[in-house]
Amino acid sequence: MIEAKTKLWRSSLATPSVKRYVARVRYKLTHGAVVAAVIGLLILIALAIHQNLTSRGIDFSFAYLSAPSRFGISEGLAPVWTGWAPIFESVDATSSNLGMLEAGLFNTLKVALLAITFSTLVGVVLGVLRLSTNWLVRNLAFAIGEFIRNTPILIQLMFWYFAVLLQLPSSGSATKVSKWLVVEQSGVFLPLPHLSDSAGPASGFFVAVAIAFLAAACLRRFPARWRIALLGVGLCAIGASYALGFGINLDWPVLGRFGATGGLHFTPEMSAILITIIVNSAGYISEIVRGGIEGLAKGQWEAAAALGLSRGDTIRDIVLPQVFRIIIPSLTNRYISLTKDTAIGIAIGFPELFNVSGTVANQSGRDFETVIVVMTIYLLLSWLISALANFVNRRIALERA
């Protein structure tokens, strides 16, 4: 038996190149077949859908994107390209469907960027608090994080919107918390910084110079003396721009009979979704940060203690910088999740991308095409965030190398 098999194998051994050729052909055929099968399946589904659509007198086309949308959304700006820089304008029923989607994307990005910034800040603080020497602080931080992570984000959104923001005193009888912050049913008002009217191109140039020099002064790769010089030049540039009439004024919210006006106004929907996502993500980030800190080698703590550093100094100077490098992949995942989480804005009528796309699909009857467009946008967003994170990661790796 073994003898026979051996013979067989040996006889085929006589022509190894033929065997190899057969193997290669088989390999290519198999993979060709798999790919073909998958593509075939997708085409089949697409055909079935297409046939279905045509039988109902609908064709597949993206032309509807440039047609007027015929509906309005409560907030959101779309870029209008006049020359080389876009101007952001609010959209209305005459704007195209594409413009509507752009305004939705604008809102999504607005929430995502603000939430990424602030949830990181809050999350890091919460994570560090979980290692406090104070039992109460430690466990309070733990309990908050635990509560956030063990309940659905949607109920958190509902809570902030329906149970908090909409229960605020109605407009007109506004509660002015302070000069800086006005909170009422029509939303949250903050002072809005804006350029003074006297600012011209010349002062703008000096501001740019100042920013460049100050940024350079922050880079550690320059020796200390250089950095002080850069700082000096930067400050001089600021002085020059100020002398040329550059300034930043604050636009204060004003209380009126029918509610507050002016300043930086967050609608209740925007406020609710922003608060929800910041708080929710902070809960997850605190866990990531804590995990990162605890995962750090014990030797680092001990070495720092041996040098006589205080606990606070150790965390700030030794632990956190290293931890950030460890947790970048987890943070990236969180930022991607957070961006996707903005889609729950539809539950309270916040016009983010998913919500707007739903309306566009309904109004135009183009469910299928709209979903493809929106899915592509979300894919690109996720890839963009990971690409950025990879870039940062590589930069850090390079600096340490």
């Binding site: 798999v34 659905p152 299928f368 979300y378």
Partner: protein, 325 residues
């Protein structure tokens, strides 16, 4: 004795230094005040009658009243299923009982019609079905993504990455509108479509967990199996997968929590889950004054269930760390 230990504990944990002492006093005062206000409201001011009256809507939604026994039977079956996988006996038997009991629970609940499922019943059944169905799918995709076969790997990677890049609510909504588009003859209920969409979405996440487990299995395990002449199939199913699943078990239980929490998003396809039921109650003008009660109740239910799942996941993880050396 006890006083002395308490005293030294407080010294170390509450009053270690000046800042800690101030913080401790501030927090105790603030918490005490909050708790008093809260408890006074809960005990005297809150109107719990509304919750009590709406309990049925919360728990089973529009499930026919004369069929309530089915929900009870399903609950018993689900408890059996959970018990079976928690008890430390044969894993194979546990999984078998889980599948049979969950299948039976679905079977028992189907006759009144899938459209009648609602409330907590819907949230839980959705979680059970989606978690169970996405595990085998996820395992397949995990193997596919770590396969040496390039075309298979490309397809699986593409699928996983796309699913992980788009919001759940979009996938559920999309599958919900697409399924009837290419199968117009058969009418599939919203719930079934929602389950399909959610499973398709969640399988990608499960696949990534399982894949991390596959990577955690030492190379020597595969080599030993190969040197014994085992086929790739035997190596995957008998040697690598069991070890991988053991490693990622806590993460998979954590995923069940994600599924449960994400199940609130099915409102987008018109299903009435637990959260949606609460909203409907609040829309009723008669209940408009009970916003706080309703939210407190819902938060409590979600938090208890979520914490139980988290607790299970943590214990598994601790157990795993103890048993590996």
């Amino acid at each position: 004795m006890i006083i002395a230990t308490l005293h030294s504990w407080a010294r170390r944990n509450l009053f270690a230094n000046l800042i800690d002492s101030i913080l401790s006093i501030l927090i105790v005062t603030a918490l005490g005040w909050l708790l008093t206000v809260f408890l006074r409201w809960v005990i005297w001011d809150a109107y719990w009658q509304r919750i009590y009256e709406s309990l049925r809507l919360f728990l089973v939604g529009q499930f026919p009243e004369d069929q309530t026994w089915r929900a009870w039977v399903a609950l018993a079956l689900l408890c059996t299923a959970v018990g079976a996988v928690l008890l430390p006996w044969s894993r194979r038997l546990g999984v078998a009982i889980w599948l049979i009991a969950c299948g039976a629970a679905v079977f028992v609940l189907v006759p009144p019609g899938l459209d009648r499922w609602g409330g907590l019943l819907l949230s839980i059944m959705l979680t059970v079905v989606v978690s169970t169905a996405s595990l085998p799918l996820g395992i397949l995709f995990a193997f596919g993504r770590s396969s040496r076969n390039p075309s298979l790997r490309a397809c699986c990677t593409g699928y996983i990455e796309v699913m992980r890049s788009v919001p759940l609510i979009l996938v559920v909504y999309w599958i919900w509108i697409t399924v009837p588009l290419f199968m117009p003859e058969v009418s599939i209920s919203s719930l079934a479509r929602g389950m399909i969409g959610y499973t398709v979405f969640n399988a990608a996440y499960v696949a990534e967990y399982v894949r991390s487990g596959l990577q955690a299995v030492p190379r020597g395990q595969r080599e030993a199996a190969r040197s014994l002449g085992m086929s790739n199939w035997t190596i995957s199913t008998e040697i690598v997968l069991p070890q991988a699943l053991r490693v990622v078990q806590p993460a998979l239980v954590g995923n069940v929590l994600d599924v449960f929490n994400g199940a609130t998003l099915v409102f987008i396809i018109g299903l009435m889950d637990f959260l949606r039921a609460g909203q409907l109650i609040l829309v009723d003008p008669a209940a408009s004054g009970q916003t706080n009660e309703v939210y407190l109740f819902m938060f409590a239910v979600y938090f208890v269930i979520g914490s139980a799942i988290t607790f299970g996941s943590r214990r598994m993880e601790a157990h795993m760390h103890r048993s590996t050396r």
